[in-house]
């Protein structure tokens, strides 16, 4: 059909001057964008502005709601619960992101090198956790960690040792780290793998003729060429981790006492808004978190922009 359209002799439909056509088409462009734009305004711009507005007020037991300007923000950024939460997600990201990148990049590189039926099967299986809701993934791992019906205690018991309790206060950080890595490594691996597949194989041939080893090809050709994909993943992981909520919220029930209700900023905002009905402070925390994420990601992209980013 496409060939047909392109080669058919041009019909002699009378048309206005070219300029008029272009302007008319500009309106058509807006018409295509408009439905999304409406949703964007209703469900992104409005809630953000509304959160900003709400965050400028404070509801007191006596005297009702009053305008307090930035008091909620001053309160948030001096509130140890909020600051600890921010610190927690930053430390968590600092450990998680390199780990996740290392796992997904190595798996992708292995899959790029090994072309067997088993490798194809592995690719599918490693991706599978992405299809699992975070809640169910957290539940599944919670079962595995559990002392009453999980296998970890059992396996260590076979060697006469006591297994680590990944639901305890000391180790739950690693318990969460494992769940998130398990959940997302496969998705990131597929993105990296697809980028690797997009590299022109003649580059490898040329490098081999020049005497490059497999390692040199990996480090000097493959990794630099997939830098945009790696950057995209980094940005996603950063945005995702800073708004950490589902996994700790679910594990909270299983890990009695090990996970406080304000572990992450998002959990704190949820607690303030829905458990304490403190919508003004909850909004301030949400907005502050959104701003922190935005600034972090923006700074990150600014620093790395030379390497070619997906937003440039």
């Amino acid at each position: 059909m496409t060939v047909d359209l392109a080669t058919r002799p041009k019909a002699a439909t009378p048309r206005g001057p070219r300029r008029r056509g272009a302007i008319a088409r500009g309106h058509v462009g807006w018409a295509f964008v408009a439905p999304f734009a409406i949703v964007f305004f209703a469900l992104l711009v409005t809630p953000l502005l509304y959160a900003l507005y709400l965050s400028l007020f404070q509801k007191r037991l006596i005297g009702g709601t009053s305008f307090v300007l930035f008091d909620n923000y001053i309160k948030a950024f001096t509130d140890p619960n909020f600051l600890d939460g921010i610190q927690y997600v930053i430390v968590f990201s600092a450990v998680l992101i390199p780990l996740q990148m290392a796992v997904s990049l190595s798996v992708a590189l292995i899959l790029d090198a090994v072309v067997t039926r088993f490798a194809r099967f592995s690719r599918l299986m490693i991706f599978l956790p992405y299809a699992i809701p975070a809640v169910i993934g957290a539940l599944m791992w919670g079962f595995l960690y559990s002392k009453s019906f999980g296998p970890i205690a059992e396996i260590f018991g076979m060697f006469g040792a006591v297994g680590p309790d990944l639901l305890s206060r000391d180790l739950v950080f690693f318990g969460l780290l494992n769940i998130v890595t398990w959940q997302w490594a496969g998705y990131y691996m597929i993105i990296i793998y697809a980028a690797l597949q997009g590299i022109d194989p003649t580059l490898y041939e040329a490098a081999r003729i020049d005497g490059a080893t497999g390692w040199q090809i990996t480090l000097r050709i493959k990794i630099p060429l997939i830098a945009p994909a790696l950057l995209l993943i980094l940005v996603f992981a950063l945005i995702g981790t800073l708004q950490f909520f589902n996994e700790p919220q679910i594990l909270r029930y299983l890990a009695s006492g090990a996970i406080p209700s304000d572990l992450t900023p998002n959990m704190y905002a949820y607690q303030q808004a829905f458990a304490l009905a403190n919508y003004n402070y909850g909004s301030a925390i949400s907005f502050a978190l959104g701003a922190v994420v935005f600034v972090c990601v923006y700074l990150f992209m600014f620093i790395t922009r030379k390497r070619g980013s997906f937003l440039s």
Partner: protein, 292 residues
């Protein structure tokens, strides 16, 4: 693959250590599934009885547990599955339609405010969606929309990253000359879009649809905040609630654990099947954002 040449066989042997490593990784990624498959066959006695938790107990009782799961609380589990499907499909398809149109509009038309709007769109990719949940909840509660299906579906329609993906894909995949040819032939803009552009955009459309459906099927925070009537819950919020109940009363909740474990297994089956059958679509599609 069936006819291995000598060099192919040699390559295979050379990669043996890598394949062994892959084998370990596959085990790691599959262990939670295995645990759930095995343990959803057990009753409370089998679960807590001290048998191996990685192998079946003597009584394999999938049927009994299935009956329990689908009759517990008057069969509310089925409702949760249907709710999840409704939210995922209506939200996912809606988000995809909006993203396809907007992506096409940005890619193929020059209009006033285009670059500014696109810059705003890119910035919004960085706004964490959970930061929107609380203000959206308060807005919706003033409009009387909370605790309705719209409270979950409407926010799902927003997918700025989908618009971005559609835009970069369309720029390459739909040549301007083709659109001009269609216009010269007298096709209107709508017809050009539907009959010329959409077929060329199909790989990206499938990808955006898949990503949107998965995102809304897996959604937890938004419905948790928006819904209070448990008959409107998606399966994620429902199972999360059961798990809270079971953990709260350790002794009385033991029978509930079998239901929760089997419920987790059943709830992941639809998406796992979808991913396995739609393999050829998502594997190519996920690369769109990464190739620039």
């Amino acid at each position: 693959m069936t006819t291995l040449t000598d060099s192919g066989r040699a390559a295979r042997r050379r990669h043996l250590p890598l394949q062994v490593l892959l084998g370990f990784l596959v085990v790691y990624f599959l262990v939670p599934f295995w645990w759930v498959i095995v343990n959803s066959s057990k009753d409370a006695a089998g679960l807590f009885g001290g048998g191996s938790s990685l192998w079946f107990a003597e009584d394999i009782d999938y049927w009994g547990n299935l009956v329990d799961l689908f009759t517990y609380q008057n069969g509310i589990y089925v409702r949760w599955l249907l709710n999840s499907a409704l939210y995922a499909f209506v939200g996912g398809i809606g988000a995809t339609v909006l993203a396809v149109m907007a992506g096409y509009g940005f890619a193929k038309f020059r209009f006033r405010g285009r670059s500014f709007s696109f810059a705003v769109l890119l910035g919004s990719v960085m706004v964490p969606t959970t930061a929107l949940v609380i203000p959206t909840f308060i807005l919706f509660s003033q409009l009387g929309l909370t605790n309705t299906i719209w409270a979950v579906i409407l926010p799902t329609l927003l997918n700025p990253f989908g618009v971005y993906l559609m835009n970069i894909y369309t720029r390459e995949a739909v040549p301007d000359e083709l659109l001009d040819a269609a216009r010269v032939d007298g096709a209107g803009e709508v017809r050009t879009f539907l009959q010329v552009s959409v077929p060329l955009m199909r790989p990206a459309i499938v990808t955006v649809l898949l990503l949107s459906v998965v995102a809304s099927w897996n959604n937890y925070f938004l419905p948790l905040a928006m819904l209070s009537d448990n008959r409107l819950f998606p399966v994620t919020v429902g199972i999360g609630m059961w798990q809270g109940i079971a953990s709260a009363n350790n002794a009385g909740g033991t029978s509930l654990w079998s239901v929760i474990i089997l419920g987790s297994l059943v709830s992941v089956i639809p998406l796992v099947i979808a991913f396995l059958t739609l393999q050829k679509y998502w594997q190519g599609g996920l690369s769109i954002g990464s190739l620039k």
